[in-house]
Symmetry: D3
Subunit: 138 residues, 6 copies
């Protein structure tokens, strides 16, 4: 259950600003499937549009990181934030972009290790070594 209404296709079609974004999602992804996240955001057409444009600019643009690496970074953040939906949707996206089981296992190992050392560091309140601070000090 969501705390907002998830717009179905008929409801989305009836709002031009929503229809335009849904059409673009389908065109860009070459798929008729529009997942629930966008159907929830559709309650606020301006937020829907901004979020979709932001996602396209970050995840789909040409850039120094390849799309699969971006998906793995997304999964890492979503794990630490405990976002169930995000983990599911971006793990599916990563697999669709070719993530192998071995890469997934490697990703999990890094996430687990970071979780462990993050907690150890924080509990010991380790001060940042001056060696890490060279450069952009202000």
């Amino acid at each position: 259950m969501a705390t907002v209404k998830l717009l179905d296709d008929a409801e989305a079609e009836a709002i031009p600003a929503v229809k335009a974004v849904f059409d673009d999602i389908r065109a860009v992804r070459k798929s008729d499937f529009v997942n629930n996240f966008w159907r929830g955001l559709a309650n606020d057409p301006a937020l829907l549009k901004r979020t979709w444009e932001g996602l396209k600019a970050v995840m789909m643009a040409e850039g120094p990181l390849d799309p699969l690496v971006r998906e793995m970074i997304y999964i890492a953040v979503s794990t630490a934030n405990g976002c169930t939906y995000c983990i599911h949707s971006h793990t599916a996206a990563a697999k669709a972009k070719g993530m192998t089981d071995a890469q997934h296992a490697d990703l999990l190992a890094v996430i687990g290790l970071a979780g462990q050392t993050n907690h150890l560091v924080t509990s010991m309140q380790i001060p940042v070594d001056p060696e890490f601070e060279v450069g952009h000090r202000r």
Copy 2:
């Protein structure tokens, strides 16, 4: 300030189990520098050894993900967990492994986007689409 003592070189030398790990850290990294995290863990030589062995197994082993990608995943987790020390040490490590400013900017953009959509999804309590659940259902 840390909540534990950070062992200096003389103190570390005096405990054979600590000395052995510090020697390995220096040999593997080809550097005399041992950062504060290990100096804090050195209060518990068994925990020090396990953590260092775990880190070597995950971050330094041959595997499907390259070392720089692993560092970026580490930064992503550490950011969501708010671990200042970890962000500094692994950003330094990523740069040492060749992370360019453009890659860093791309990483930041993905982390920021994931932070935004994680919060939107959680606040709307979006249910997982059945399409994402195909496969490993139990």
Copy 3:
């Protein structure tokens, strides 16, 4: 499933200290409905009473913030903490206090933006501008 027993009305009636709080919840809210949170806390009558008294003092007292604003702040914290139950119960409470769909959408947009900028700031480890520190320095 909860990790504690959720006391039903008969069980709650049988413990005078629990009955007293449940009676007060019903009287204050002018409703017979006692939600699961209180039924779980009822395993510890002293914790139940302290928590209910705290909630009344914060959420229901006359004060500078109106009750709906307080509910929206509650939703914001609960989202960042990933507390599903809390998001559901306080979104329902906010709607009962008159939160419109437009206000809900505005709330979501702020929560999403804060999530994004929180992550960007943390990953960049931006130092606090001295301009923000004027005043209560100690």
Copy 4:
């Protein structure tokens, strides 16, 4: 210390896409002060522009929530995420928008209460009452 360079005015002036955003920040805020967050984002002019446009659209637009309420929601999210910089900058912003000491105290009380009940709920794993799910079930 930041993990990225914080561009000073001369460096910002030299990049037209950054200069344009900084000029807009100064014009919109009617102040010459550009805080460190934007100076860090300026390393990626496209991310800088998107983030500033998003902030204007959410925090400064006419809408159902007043600007001070939005700042308080921002502080609530930033607190739960442990973002020191964000707490400082948005508490300063809230005060600039008229937040009184009494409103600040009220905000803190709600944030503290939410933190407490979020933890209690999560530790007890309280199931969502069906009464909270009426409406948008899918």
Copy 5:
């Protein structure tokens, strides 16, 4: 720097409701030292009193858990929440209550392990085994 004023002794003395709590803190702890947390809360005498009464009821009452165990649980929560001040103050409190270096090391090892497995579980989205759900199902 705090976002609120930290009341010094003269300021605290001038507000009877604050003075009463500060006097009780000193009497209960048998020490003249009042730490900054209470000096910040003193801006809201009612919140100060409620928080101090809650802390006495939880941390200082006779009960099934001994005071040192409670301090270690506190440190565990504070670590996962990334609360620097809380980690420092409660590690100091735990040491004052007799926490040995060996107990501290054991605590850290458990916190680190939990951080690791929490992240692994969440990233794999492991479903709860029915065996763990026997009992309080509702």
Copy 6:
């Protein structure tokens, strides 16, 4: 639903490195039950082995903290991290190790209080008292 396959007994038996760990889990716990966490980790036999060895070293070794206290610390971390599975599995483990309802209630009260004060401290950005810093300053 998990994002990885959960290996059943036949699948686990077919991989010697997995079989060896599952055999050890059953032998150490004197139970045929292998919970889902290990079945998910079994996709990566090396990670499975490292995680199980780490858990044995921390949770089952003789040491200054008793096993029940360690489970309660685990629950505390898992609550703050919002790890549903971990809360369920370790609450079950704590009960199996003799945690009484009164101890559970005491644990919950401490977790809730820590959640509250963590949020209050963070929102007020209380600076660490010098009195807490005596000792291990570096």
